[in-house]
Symmetry: C2
Subunit: 477 residues, 2 copies
């Protein structure tokens, strides 16, 4: 075991050279390894994911199925030995897609496969028919003069998202989605249409939130599937003006969503809480298997498998957050923010948080909070994770949308990075269904989570103090 430089490396070194600590280390590592290997043969995460996606189908935040799935999940927790199980509701503006259609009229007349972006406003009942102006980047749209799109439909095709393991192609295209409608409206457009932020070549439009302004999405806004975006680009290239007709009867309604919370109380340090997060809500097009029933399955299985082998030292809390997909301003509500508001001062007891929200394909690296990436704990964890093909990743400060409010309030976060190569083929589409879960890779996920969380739960490392000492920015970003 070698030490790399680290501000507080000495803290761990203190324990390393005492024989009782070494023996304890060996026992903890052995326990983590045993649970890891057991998890590789355990299907409970897969079965949970199957059941919640099958019984409730799509679970848009605030819909009846969101409520019913949450109640069912609370029962699931109780039936599987979780303690202090509770459902905490928070108000929400829900969104109903209603009916929708996008078609080319006139030259090249044909129906297109498209979906309104989340919380998109409706068109007039007769639809919107107008000539399109076609842009190949968000920058190009932003460069258009004010007034230049008066009465037109702005179409932004910023190219196909590349498939990458780290999902890094998503950011630029999700910016088109979040910033495009406002930019189009500011220039006079009557509607906004984009190529989906997705990496597949199926007739599967990818929905997702866009930017709210004064509480609403500025324009009726749609995403085309990749083949349809290709089709429009070819028609535009042919040189004649292209007209589209758009229709959406989308509407909003007052409702609520909820966080479902359960825990395995710690045996010796129950007031030190490890939070494992994922989200229950899904987009309405699919059944939200990869996004994010899988995360629920992985984190619930983690706590259960650890608990079945005996109570850990620290408390392991699993939160199935509500309304992650629509997480934006507080007036729309989201589970991560509601959780932090509800726990109040108890946040001080949260020693670390982790989130699973990128499907269920293999985990390939581990990110730990600032100051602990090169620690003795990291060495231990990586030794236990290495047989799963997991290496050291970069320092982790974000964690994910659901636990970002925790991170912004001083809770350190870890990250087990999942292979996202396939993820953005399916993400936010009708194709996000249970058959896309690979049970072998999902078991690898659970094995990694079980091993890591077991090590954290039985460790005495004060991630909070170390992270705080190693960063000045984490609480202020």
């Amino acid at each position: 075991m070698s030490f790399k430089s680290g501000l507080l490396a000495g803290v761990f070194a203190l324990g390393l050279f005492s024989t009782p600590a070494l023996a304890q280390d060996a026992a903890t590592i052995a326990a983590a390894e045993t649970l890891r290997d057991q998890a590789l043969n355990d299907n409970i995460a897969y079965e949970y994911t199957r059941d919640v996606t099958t019984l409730f189908g799509p679970r848009p935040a605030g819909a009846d199925t969101d409520h019913a799935a949450a109640a069912w999940a609370a029962d699931w927790m109780r039936a599987h030995g979780f303690e202090n199980v509770r459902v905490e509701t928070f108000p929400l503006v829900g969104w109903n897609r209603g009916a929708e259609s996008v078609e080319i009229v006139g030259v090249g007349a044909q129906k297109l496969s498209a979906a309104a972006l989340g919380h998109s406003i409706a068109t007039p009942a007769e639809g919107i028919e107008a000539e399109i102006v076609h842009f190949t980047s968000l920058d190009a749209l932003n460069a258009a003069p004010v007034g230049s799109l008066n009465g037109k439909i702005a179409v932004v095709d910023a190219g196909q998202m590349p498939r990458t393991r780290d999902g890094s192609g998503y950011g630029p295209l999700s910016r088109v989605r979040s910033q495009g409608p406002k930019a189009a409206k500011d220039r006079g457009a009557v509607a906004f249409v984009m190529r989906s932020a997705g990496s597949d070549h199926h007739r599967m439009p990818h929905t997702g939130t866009t930017g709210y302004h004064d509480g609403v999405v500025p324009l009726p806004s749609f995403a085309l599937s990749a083949p349809d975006a290709d089709q429009v680009a070819r028609l535009v290239a042919a040189g004649q003006p292209i007209r589209m007709k758009l229709f959406s009867s989308a509407s909003t309604y007052e409702t609520h969503s909820q966080n479902v919370i359960g825990e395995i109380r710690g045996a010796t340090r129950p007031d030190e809480v490890i939070v494992l997060g994922s989200h229950m809500d899904s987009w309405d097009l699919g059944t939200g298997a990869i996004d994010d029933a899988a995360g629920g399955g992985i984190t619930l299985a983690t706590a259960k498998i650890i608990a079945d082998a005996g109570r850990p030292a620290r408390t392991i809390r699993v939160v199935l957050y509500g309304a992650e997909e629509v997480a934006q301003p507080t007036d729309h509500g989201n589970g991560g923010g509601a959780y932090v508001r509800n726990i109040g001062a108890e946040i001080e007891k949260h020693i670390i948080a982790g989130e699973s929200d990128l499907g269920a394909d293999n985990i390939y690296d581990l990110g730990l909070p600032p100051g602990t990436q090169n620690s003795e704990f990291a060495q231990k964890a990586l030794a236990v994770l290495a047989p799963l093909g997991i290496a050291a990743g970069g320092e982790e400060r974000f964690g994910g949308v659901d636990i970002a409010p925790l991170a912004r309030n001083g809770v350190p976060v870890f990250g087990l990075s999942q292979d996202a190569t396939r993820y953005f083929d399916l993400h936010h589409t009708a194709d996000d269904t249970f058959d896309k879960i690979d049970p072998v890779q999902m078991r690898q996920n659970v094995a990694a989570w079980v091993a890591l969380v077991k090590l954290i739960a039985d460790s005495e490392v004060d991630f909070r103090a170390i992270a705080a000492a190693n960063t000045a920015s984490i609480a202020s970003n």
Copy 2:
């Protein structure tokens, strides 16, 4: 060169050992090889496929886009040197899908991804809501007693179609589609729902014709996408009664479709006609790129590339058939039947026919008419095709739906078998779009067609006489 046994092998052997014939052979082979290699660098098939799918989108038989695409294709033929270009119309009962929905109500309530089967009758305006009876095979449905499905929805999930190079998994599942609605109605069912006859795992229902009885489809009939069929099977396995609500506003209308015909007249034996077929119509869900704009591209490119190098001895005729997808009884009309009726006695001049209607992936074998499979001609053709990875296939008697009426009336057929591994992922779905065409494999197709058709066009082999002598059944089946 070796000879295998064959009734008329001696006919070819006569020519083989005379020096002028050998020289002619060598010249013909060289010409075919030159055109083959040229075709490997020619994109005209790809460009035709791109343009017809982009400009007209879906082309359901009898729809405005079917008519417009046919007129455009006739112009395309004229612009590319085809002769005697004509559009021959025939009456047709068209079908409009209208609006449709399939959902589970009650336990497991959720919308499903489904499509009405072709020419399915509408439901009542309020839809049909009923308990389902779930069968795992057509045999199981057929074994249900008359009356046992009274008031129920029959659901047949005969399992997922396997992917195979020869597409052989399609037959059993297309039988579910063609026979299921009548079998369900005979047992009292009020509607029929099946797992799609397809090999993909996307939320893409596969439509297609079912069986007409007394001129109509017996029940409102739908196909579920594979993930949705899985979902229903899981809910059924959970043990509670499952109810579905189905809606379709499908309707029929009187219209016409057409065959688009053009040819390259033969230089020395213009009355010996080689017919190359494909179909212009597509299902309404996709833009019919693999089914079958690609076939149009491949056969048009074949004739054009050969003609550009000089007029062949025999005439090469290209037919873009109408209404292949709905080809069933004559009262619904289809282009293959109309073509044979229109040509009348001229059919005697048709010396051979071939059809391209299985996408555009690599061709792997060649089938020739009865009696010619082991002939000198076959040896020559296989020698020219071998560098493309094409081997000898079995004897060919069917050819395809469009040329089956020719085959039934004594015209020999050849078959260049395409790799169908991907085909039934896309077939009859919204996902049948231009981006699914692999230009490299499409060029291999054109190269094979060009080489083979060039050899046939400049050959003196009387396929018709040989096939007739070698089979008693071809004209009677």
